[in-house]
């Protein structure tokens, strides 16, 4: 097998006295869906923020496709093909659904110092955007305003935007959060289809979804990796059970 797509080496981040990421080592192989789970406050979102470049780590390295990206700002990482979706949906609510995705396409089409041609009629932007929307099942809603979509649809749009730049790897931060059972099931199907083409790092609370989708799972507790392996190994792991799974399963059950 070749080099891992994403290599995280001894990553550490503190906020004051709190250790959010503690000497974290993680490899994501090309083509796999790698899930990161852990109880609340385990530092999952902080990890994603460091991988995407929103936060810079105190020490350690992040390599993407063999290239050291630790010091690169968000937009450079995204141009290398590392796309991120947000936990709290963060869209361009006053623009149209299609505009949202077209902006994501535009972000990858080099600089935007083009002042004259109407971007809303450029096939180079609009066609990939429509394709990405169709992929997540929002093709019909393309011309509506983004603020008019439902919560579940916002998640789909979020995913379409991540896909729009034809990334090689997706960082997904709790794509199921706040979705009803039906919407969750649809999202799982979508991710299952995507993982054939993309490498995905998934942070998720919904254990059912994680065990259904993941090729490998890493368990994080207090910013530290306590286990990493195939779903069956994780299920069987005594440490994980003690530290987390028992509690999480009841948590997941109460969510329905």
């Amino acid at each position: 097998m070749s080099e891992p797509m994403l290599q995280v080496e001894n990553l550490a981040k503190r906020f004051g006295g709190i250790v959010a990421t503690d000497d974290l080592v993680l490899n994501v192989e090309a083509g796999e869906l790698h899930a990161v789970i852990g109880p609340n406050g385990a530092g999952k979102t902080t990890l994603i923020a460091q991988l995407s470049g929103q936060l810079s780590p105190d020490s350690g390295r992040v390599r993407f496709d063999g290239k050291d990206i630790t010091a690169l700002p968000m937009y450079r990482r995204s141009r290398l093909g590392l796309a991120r979706s947000f936990q709290i949906t963060s869209l361009f609510l006053d623009l149209s659904v299609l505009d949202n995705v077209a902006l994501a396409v535009q972000a990858h089409a080099g600089h935007s110092f083009r002042f004259w041609r109407n971007a809303r009629s450029e096939p180079d932007l609009r066609e990939p955007a429509r394709a990405a929307l169709a992929r997540v099942g929002l093709g019909e809603r393309a011309d509506g305003r983004a603020s008019a979509l439902s919560h579940g649809e916002h998640r789909q749009l979020e995913l379409a935007m991540a896909l729009a730049g034809s990334p090689r790897m997706l960082l997904l931060d709790e794509p199921m959060a706040g979705l009803g059972p039906e919407e969750s099931a649809r999202m799982v199907e979508m991710l299952r289809a995507l993982k054939r083409e993309l490498t995905i790092l998934l942070v998720e609370h919904d254990m059912e979804a994680v065990f259904a989708l993941a090729d490998r799972i890493t368990v994080l507790v207090y910013g530290r990796v306590i286990a990493s392996g195939k779903p069956d190994d994780i299920r069987a792991n005594a440490d994980v059970r003690d530290a987390y799974l028992g509690e999480a399963e009841t948590g997941a059950a109460s969510h329905g």
């Binding site: 968000m74 937009y75 963060s90 361009f92 902006l103 109407n118 971007a119 935007m161 730049g165």
Partner: protein, 322 residues
Amino acid sequence: MTPALTARNIAIVALLAGLLLMPVFAELAGNRFLLTLFTRIVILALAAVSLNLILGYGGMMSFGHAAYLGIGGYAVGMLAHEGVLSGFVQWPVALAGSALFALIIGALSLRTRGVYFIMITLAFAQMAYYIFAGLARYGGDDGLTIYKRSQFFNPINLSNKVQFYYICLALLFAAIYLVWRLVNSRFGMTIQGARSNDIRMRAIGFPTYRYKLVCFVIAGTMCGLSGALLANHTDFVSPQMMYWTRSGDLIIMVVLGGMGSPFGPLIGAVALLVLEEVLSGITEYWQIILGPLLLLVVLFARGGIDGLLVKLQGKERAKVRS
């Protein structure tokens, strides 16, 4: 797409036709003052159009836009004072001066956002005001009379009032068209995206700071042109041109007309300045009416006049700013 016969479109066409025919009307009515008033409206509308680019489309709440009026105006006034009368020198200097100022101010103030941005743009514009007020050679506080308007080749003669009006009007229409092209281009989409959600723009790969800065400079330059016109119109420049309340007036025009709408600033400029004219005809203390009126507009009519016209269309369909 063919434009529909909606209330909004009819109002805009009527306004444009009215502006085109204004000199004829003023001539027929024998009312020279009307032409002077509307020349001023057209010039300030140009400034409002430039402000709308950053405020309405870019979400950058600049409270220092009048500074460019002053810089553009003083470029004309100071050069004329030194004997340089050619518009081919004066106007490019006005534009370049405004662009440079916008570049410096923008580079500093765009590092911040929100209220800081408002206060900083306001403060820097006020700094420019004090600088010009301190230039004793060019009249200081009292300002500077311009004895000769900018010279171009024949038959262009800015001293001809009708000709000057049409030149201003042509430049205004050109500016509206330019802004419209700009905001719908890739660059414009970037600017609008940054207004809508700056963090997200950076997350998907846009270094928004430089786009906003370029936008800020374009708007400042355009407003500098308005300043050069204003100096030629009044044959006089003074620091008062760039006092901060003038920046406030420009914001009112943009909001009153309708932010982020191509013709909004023009509508707002006509509405505000005509309203001022009417109110000041009623009472000497007309601002006592205008002030609370403004507060009411803010509280109850945020979409501005353009927003009301769109509502009149009856279609409350989700309108994407275009």
